[in-house]
């Protein structure tokens, strides 16, 4: 019985290289998404994250248009437009402090439409699906190296600059007053988010990239009030969702990216039901 279960769990990864690559890629993403997703939640910047994930698309699509499925082109293009839109959004936010969410949504829609137009101009329906929803199972060694590098860089940066990143999200005016630097850490953080979205892009596509970042962190937030445990738990939940999603997609013959995101969503739902009741005070929902 137990042997069977283990066979059930391990079999697909034993037999197929692409399943192993997908699993390792998802684990690497989960390692980086734990801290980044937690910080995005703490900063109440889920919406900006979503905008960024769509802003990655036009650049990636342009890269695709000129270089085909070249990982370097997709990544560079995605990163460039992602950061450009982040910069533009910061500028608009500065000039009109009251209207931030509507201008963010404008960026989100325009980027997405541009991306779709660019891909449609040259690619097929299948290409469009690939850009929008990703293909975890198509992750190759090159892509895995990229994902792992971004993940390592993210973890090192967060570990080194954890304190100012956390304080800046809680009380930016204080950090500025004590001279800890203000805009620098916001810029670093946004860059990290954009980098991780680019890493997720290959696996989850532009529409789902935020899923593996936000859902595990949101689920972890239900269980603990402290930041480090949230990060650790979010990482573990992200990995669990990836494993479960890949297995389900393998046995039920479903698309893997959505299966993983749904897995994370189910864990989030269970966390809310099991532990979230008492945390769901209106205060903790403000601004989300």
């Amino acid at each position: 019985m137990i042997g069977q279960f283990i066979g059930f769990m391990i079999g697909p990864f034993e037999s197929f290289g692409f399943m192993r690559l997908a699993l390792v890629a998802c684990f690497a993403l989960a390692l980086a998404n734990g801290p980044i997703g937690t910080l995005v939640l703490l900063r109440r910047e889920s919406l900006s994250g979503n905008v960024l994930s769509h802003a990655v698309m036009p650049g990636a699509a342009l890269g695709f248009l000129y270089a085909g499925y070249s990982l370097a082109a997709l990544t560079l293009g995605g990163l460039l437009t992602g950061l450009a839109v982040a910069g533009l959004a910061a500028l608009t936010a500065r000039s009109r402090p009251q209207r931030q969410d509507s201008s963010l949504i404008a960026f989100y829609l325009v980027s997405l439409s541009f991306g779709v137009l660019i891909v449609a101009a040259r690619g097929s329906q299948a290409d469009l699906m690939h850009v929008l929803f990703g293909t975890v199972l198509a992750v190759d060694v090159t892509a895995l190296v990229l994902i792992a590098s971004i993940s390592s860089l993210t973890m090192l940066t967060v570990a080194a600059l954890y304190r100012p990143l956390a304080v800046e999200s809680f009380d930016p005016a204080f950090l500025r007053a004590v001279g800890g630097g203000g805009g620098v850490f916001r810029a670093i953080f946004i860059t990290l988010v954009a980098l991780n979205l680019v890493a997720s892009f290959q696996a989850f596509g532009t529409l789902l990239a935020m899923g593996p970042m936000l859902l595990p962190a949101a689920a972890a937030r239900c269980w603990t009030h402290r930041v480090w445990p949230t990060i650790a738990l979010a990482t573990v939940i992200g990995m669990a969702a990836a494993l479960a999603g890949l297995l389900i997609s393998y046995y039920a013959n479903l698309p893997s990216g959505p299966a993983i995101v749904i897995g994370a969503g189910v864990i989030y739902g269970m966390s809310l039901l099991a532990a979230g009741g008492m945390r769901l005070k209106p205060k903790s929902l403000e601004g989300q």
Binding site: A159, A160, S169, F170, R176, G179, T224
Partner: protein, 310 residues
């Protein structure tokens, strides 16, 4: 691998997990500080300039500058779009003075404080305050500008006040625990030091922020409505800190709305109604004539839009 598919498992040993994470990340967290000491002086200076300019332990032993830091402003204005938050402010908050900034809603009081703190860049004019460059300026925003849902304990919040002694990456100094205890005792919050800030009452949270100010030990202190929605005993307790800070030679500027409180406790007052109506000794600034002028100044054309700039 099978374990990782069970999300509930890590919670059972949450404290072990934390310890494990702490232990494994400790080298990482320290690595930057260590590599800093290995790198040359110029690299260190460059890092500090860009990422950690707040780390300045030498600032602790410098009472010598206290009583010299005022804030001078020249033709200071701030405009949001078409509307001026405040305009044409020239004058000086004298060193070691205790000044109340008062005025009708939308008079630009909070905007002025943000400009003085260097958070907002003025549209015209300049602020001259040497404490800003030395990071010896403390700014207490209105309570609703802070995220009360953030997972941080009272003690951690207060400890942040000692930022200049640990900065972005270094370990906290040994004396930190003692000074946090001292500050918490001074504001009467020792009993709740391990609670999350989300669990505090409005008054307790304000006391915690004052404890952080105590640790910050700044030469210029800017407070935005520090007594809003506090009960009388908390207000009295906190007011005593303001007076103590002034007597220690610090410059304190406080935005307030309670005229009686200002008359009783604040030696000087800036009456602001988008442009300054009166600035000086409280009894002179708050004459009936001036107050009426301040009220009238804001009922003019743009009055209905002024609330935005409050």
């Amino acid at each position: 691998m099978a374990n990782s598919s069970d999300p509930v498992r890590p919670r059972r040993s949450a404290s072990d997990m934390v310890r494990l994470v702490r232990a494994t990340t400790a080298p990482l967290r320290q690595s930057l500080a260590v590599s800093l000491s290995v790198l040359g002086d110029s690299t260190q200076a460059a890092f500090a300039r860009h990422f950690d300019s707040g780390y300045d332990p030498s600032a602790s032993d410098g009472d010598r500058r206290r009583g010299e830091d005022g804030i001078a402003v020249r033709n200071l204005s701030l405009r949001y779009g078409e509307t001026y938050a405040f305009e044409g402010l020239t004058g000086e908050f004298a060193p070691a003075s205790l000044t109340a900034v008062i005025g009708p809603n939308g008079a630009g009081k909070s905007s002025l404080l943000k400009t003085l703190a260097g958070i907002v860049r003025p549209t015209t004019g300049e602020v001259v305050c040497t404490a800003v460059a030395r990071h010896r300026l403390a700014y207490l925003p209105q309570q609703d500008e802070l995220d009360r849902g953030f997972p941080i304990t009272v003690a951690e919040l207060v400890a942040l006040g000692d930022w200049r002694n640990f900065g972005s990456v270094r370990g906290p100094p040994r004396h930190l625990v003692a000074s946090v205890y001292e500050a918490l005792a001074a504001v009467g919050l020792l009993a709740v030091m391990d609670r999350q800030i989300a669990e505090l009452s409005v008054g307790q949270f304000q006391r915690a922020l004052f404890a952080r100010l105590l640790l910050q030990d700044a030469d210029v202190i800017l407070l935005d409505e520090p007594f809003a929605s506090l009960d009388e005993s908390t207000t009295d307790d906190l007011l005593r800190f303001l007076q103590r800070w002034q007597s220690e030679g610090r410059t304190v500027v406080t935005v307030l709305h309670d005229l009686d409180l200002v008359r009783r406790h604040f030696p000087s007052t800036l009456l602001l109604a988008r442009s300054p109506v009166a600035w000086g000794e409280t009894s002179l600034s708050l004459s009936a004539d001036n107050l009426a002028r301040a009220q009238k100044a804001l009922v003019l054309p743009e009055g209905h839009r002024a609330g935005r700039a409050a």
